[in-house]
């Protein structure tokens, strides 16, 4: 693999061997996928969102199926940053693939503490999940308000020397505005999109299908929305963009790349086929071969719109 074409790409100072990553929260801490694919083939591994303290997550039911999609409300269950660094990170790092730590907090300080704790731990970058309510500021998500997102990123920027990827929420008025705000604040890259708030009802019981009533929609249903947001953000900012949302195969991944993404993350698809990342990578190589494109980076933002 990668013999004839150059798949490498730079993201905020990280050099990735190829542009295919797992998406946070859909590959655990890597080990669960290991029996199904060679993790060393990945461009990077993005682990489940980490908080300062371990979190038990939401009560079940936590997941429900909808047309071409999945609504989840896992509630950010995780083992906490300490246990991650101690128990999971060492073996992950042995793979020789950049490990990206997805983090979230309830206020700016928590994000900063997390970012500081991970500095020097061995992770290659941190991804800020800003789709979390700012408990200190009335509970509106950081990711919905450009000013809040800006301030958050600026503080985290000061707290860590690691590359910062800010993961944008689709739940905004204007994704360009958001992308510009976090770029201005010093993020090294942007990933988008996180899940879209959604809801399903069991009409026979007249009850919500999830214990938390509202959850996050992922899967192919959201892909056309995500591709549009990548395309819009690509017009607005210079920092690299990582595309996420409903990628099921190479052609989906290529939609994101052609729209402006320099890398992709794959989430829900790994639930259906735990080896899907490898297939996507292979499909991208085949596509490049077929089209005579030698360097992956030449594909980024190559949409013709005349």
């Amino acid at each position: 693999m990668g013999g004839t074409v150059d798949l490498s790409v730079d993201i905020g100072g990280m050099r990735l061997r190829n542009p295919v990553m797992t998406a946070s929260g859909t590959c655990g801490y890597g080990e669960e996928l290991a029996p199904y694919m060679d993790l060393r083939r990945l461009g990077a591994i993005v682990v489940k969102g980490l908080s300062l303290k371990p979190r038990p997550g939401n009560p079940p039911p936590r997941m429900t199926e909808v047309p071409s999609g999945l609504i989840n409300s896992i509630g950010l269950q995780n083992i906490g940053v300490e246990a991650f660094v101690r128990d999971k990170l060492p073996s992950l790092m042995d793979l020789g693939v950049p490990v990206i730590a997805n983090i979230f907090g309830e206020d700016v300080e928590e994000y900063c503490l997390l970012a500081r704790r991970l500095d020097g731990s061995g992770v290659a970058a941190i991804e800020l999940n800003i789709s979390c309510p700012n408990v200190k500021k009335g509970g509106m998500e950081f990711g919905r308000i450009p000013e809040e997102a800006h301030d958050l990123v600026r503080e985290v920027r000061r707290a860590t020397g690691l590359p910062i990827i800010t993961k944008l929420s689709p739940n905004v008025r204007d994704i360009k505005e958001m992308a510009m705000a976090v770029e201005e604040a010093g993020t090294d890259a942007i990933s988008l999109i996180n899940t879209i708030p959604a809801m399903a009802i069991d009409v026979e019981r007249r009850r919500p299908r999830l214990s938390s009533i509202i959850g996050g929609l992922s899967g192919p249903a959201i892909r056309p929305i995500a591709v549009r947001m990548v395309w819009e953000a690509y017009q607005a900012v210079k920092v690299p963009i990582i595309g996420v949302g409903g990628i099921m195969g190479a052609s989906d991944a290529l939609e994101f790349v052609i729209a402006g993404a320099c890398a992709v993350q794959i989430g829900t698809a790994t639930f259906i086929d735990p080896a899907v990342c490898e297939k996507v990578l292979k499909g991208i190589e085949e596509y490049m071969d077929r089209h005579g494109i030698r360097r992956f980076v030449d594909l980024i933002g190559s949409l013709e719109v005349s």
């Binding site: 199904y36 896992i74 639930f271 735990p274």
Partner: protein
């Protein structure tokens, strides 16, 4: 690296809503483990997720799944035919325990909950163990009594209850089981159970009152089946546990039944 593809050997209805599906497979499978199966091609995303199924029977070069048509996924599944390729991930999870000292084992199942136990009995026999085995199987009516002859043929004492009373005891299988326990008709070293939630709860309670070790196989909606999505958790005394990894079989005393 685990394989994730298989081919259909056969697929046939054995009653209006129960079907048997034969799939190519080789390798060791513990009784009570399950597979994630995608009964339609990878490139159609409605329905989106693979479906979990236990193993009814293991044979040379393949496994047999006993499935009941309950919704869209299983309805589509009836259309599978010989030679079709399917995504098949597994075997997954932790199955039923079987301990050396057990002299008598009772199985309590409801509806399609009977599915994992034929393989269990195959497996116990292959190990060379011959505990006394009794099956308590319940259903709505005749239509839920598939495969019980096979258990009889395997030397298992079969007890039946149907809610409509069309065969065996009229009522719930847990009531029949309780009655037989009270009468001393069975004296199980352990109870293994699979079926609807209400039945499992009942069986767990019956066993708790009598101090009988009880193992239940839980049925949850599953996102991945391999432990990554955290969608299938159940509340246990030790916190949330994944049914697909730490289960699907749990010691019944571990489960926080009020929250199931």
């Amino acid at each position: 690296m685990k394989r994730t593809l298989s081919k259909v050997i056969y697929n046939r209805g054995i009653s209006p809503s129960y079907h048997l599906l034969g799939l190519r497979w080789e390798g060791r499978i513990d009784p009570g483990q399950f597979f994630m199966l995608r009964p339609w091609s990878f490139d159609r995303f409605d329905p989106l997720l693979n479906r979990p199924f236990g193993v009814y029977r293991v044979f040379e070069g393949g496994i047999e799944i006993l499935y009941k048509v309950v919704g869209r996924g299983t309805r589509i599944m009836t259309g599978l035919k010989e030679g079709d390729e399917v995504i098949l991930i597994g075997p997954l999870g932790r199955g039923f325990p079987f301990m050396e000292g057990w002299e008598e084992v009772s199985i309590v199942s409801g509806g399609v909950g009977i599915a994992p136990f034929y393989h269990l009995i195959q497996w116990i026999r292959e190990k060379g163990s011959f505990p006394a085995l009794s099956l308590y199987h319940g259903g709505r009516g005749e239509e839920d009594l598939v495969g019980i002859e096979e258990f009889e043929r395997a030397g298992v004492t079969v007890n039946i209850a149907t809610e409509r009373g069309t065969r065996g005891y009229r009522g719930l299988i847990s009531d029949l089981f309780k009655r037989d326990l009270e009468k001393g008709k069975v004296r199980p070293s352990a109870v293994l159970s699979c079926g609807p939630k209400g039945m499992l709860k009942e069986v767990a309670l019956i066993c708790r009152e009598r101090g009988i070790p009880c193992y239940v196989s839980l049925d949850r909606m599953m996102g991945c089946g391999i432990g990554t999505c955290l969608g299938c958790v159940v509340r246990t005394k030790g916190g949330y546990q994944r049914v697909c990894m730490e289960g699907p079989v749990f010691e019944s005393e571990e489960i926080v039944w009020e929250e199931l």
